[in-house]
């Protein structure tokens, strides 16, 4: 999947994201989110950091720039992580492109 860094992404209406005791829990709302209907989803540490920036306001380029200022990594490395996460979340229908 090719992603444009100019695109803004937001949480899909098909999931509910909850933060409980420091854990980000993504709860499917609509049917057909996963292989089974009784499973929840969590993000790893890198995923949580990126997720916190995906607020439906910032473009992916904004997210990459902000993270590059906050972390000791190159923009290209961060862009790869951001695009990797977003692609995965879009594939799982948890994130959608904002119109």
């Amino acid at each position: 999947m090719s992603l444009s860094l100019d695109q803004i992404y937001q949480l899909s209406e098909d999931v509910v994201a909850r933060e409980i005791e420091g854990e980000l829990i993504i709860v499917p709302l609509a049917a057909g989110m996963g292989d089974a209907d009784d499973e929840l989803y969590t993000l790893n540490e890198t995923g949580r950091v990126i997720w916190s920036k995906l607020d439906g306001q910032r473009s992916l380029a904004d997210v990459v720039r902000e993270l590059a200022q906050e972390y000791d990594a190159s923009e290209s490395e961060i862009a790869a992580d951001v695009c990797g996460l977003v692609a995965e979340l879009v594939r799982r229908k948890m994130l959608v492109a904002a119109s």
Binding site: V16, E23, P28, A31, G34, E39, L40, Y41, L85
Partner: protein, 401 residues
Amino acid sequence: MDGFVARKNIASNPLWQTREPRLSALDIELTERCDNACQHCYINLPQNDPTARAAELTTSEWKRILKEAAQLGVLRVRFTGGEPLLREDFAELYEYARRLGLRVTLFTNARRITPELAALFQRIPPLQKIEITVYGMTAETYEEVTCAPGSFAEFRRGIDLLLASGVPFLVKSVDLPQMRHELPAFQAWAATLPGMELPASVTRILDLRARRDSPARSKHIAALRGDPEEVARNRLASSNLRADILRLAADQHGANALFGCAAGACALPTIDARGRMQACMLLRAPQLAYDLRAGSMTDALEHFFPRLGWMKSETPAFLRRCARCFLRNICDQCAAKSWMESGTLDTPVEYYCQVTHAIARQVGLLAEGERSWDVTNGRERANRILGGINEPEPGSNLSTL
């Protein structure tokens, strides 16, 4: 793990990296009313009971509670009753709970599953199997139990709607004299249903009226209870259960604590239809319930329920029997059931003693005529039997020990 996202089946994977939320699950008794009138039931009030209906929480009150539950970290709520589908706002409350990110278990008799409700469950799945209690395999038996003409056809229609919609559910039943002869047919039918990975559970011990609201009904329920030896045999039909029983007996230590169970930690509380928070679904002693109309779950958890963990019995009968009983951990006796039976929190319940003694005799922990509270070497007895089980005979299904 697939990249950044991990899928968690929380029944088999730990969800929490550091600390768990204060509350992870909550039982919600939406109504005490039911459209069935089963004589064995511990809680049902008539469907149109005006007093019960008037006392129920409103939609907005339930929403406030659900919202606070989500804020406390609750991931699963169980909607039960009475018959929760009698609430006209059920669909609204269900969708509200799901949109808060809660998984929902529904306990129902399935009579009021409509095409609209089945479609809702299909569109927004509960993420937990719906649990349906079955009272018979024929209309004659079913309606003899439910005392509700036409209920069997409605139940079957509800089942068919869920099947057609692909909504996962499981079925369970009750060991009642009226339907005992149909239990084999029930199990055979249950095994054909798509959601049934395990044999259907069958309630073997009936609880008396939970609110102590009808001595006559409680007396009737007691009369419906099965013979203790037979109940014990049925419970032991699972060899794993037998192993568990022996382990529990081996680990038992006598104590006068009233709440040695999860209720003492208020780990799975219940909110009743009137907004009273209880430490467990059965614990309805008024002095141990917290009025959520006048407070909050947070206040109840921080300031009201912790005292349960410290409560101890000073009743001679309890101290002489339950506190010394090496079978305490496998007995149904608890403060809630004691209150249902006797109105106190710590009166030994003779029926539970009979069933537990029967189980213990059948697994070789007790000799005929022995009383468990007189046994001083219970742990040794259990360990001796466990040692025998650890050397299974060829072909034994106890080898998982």
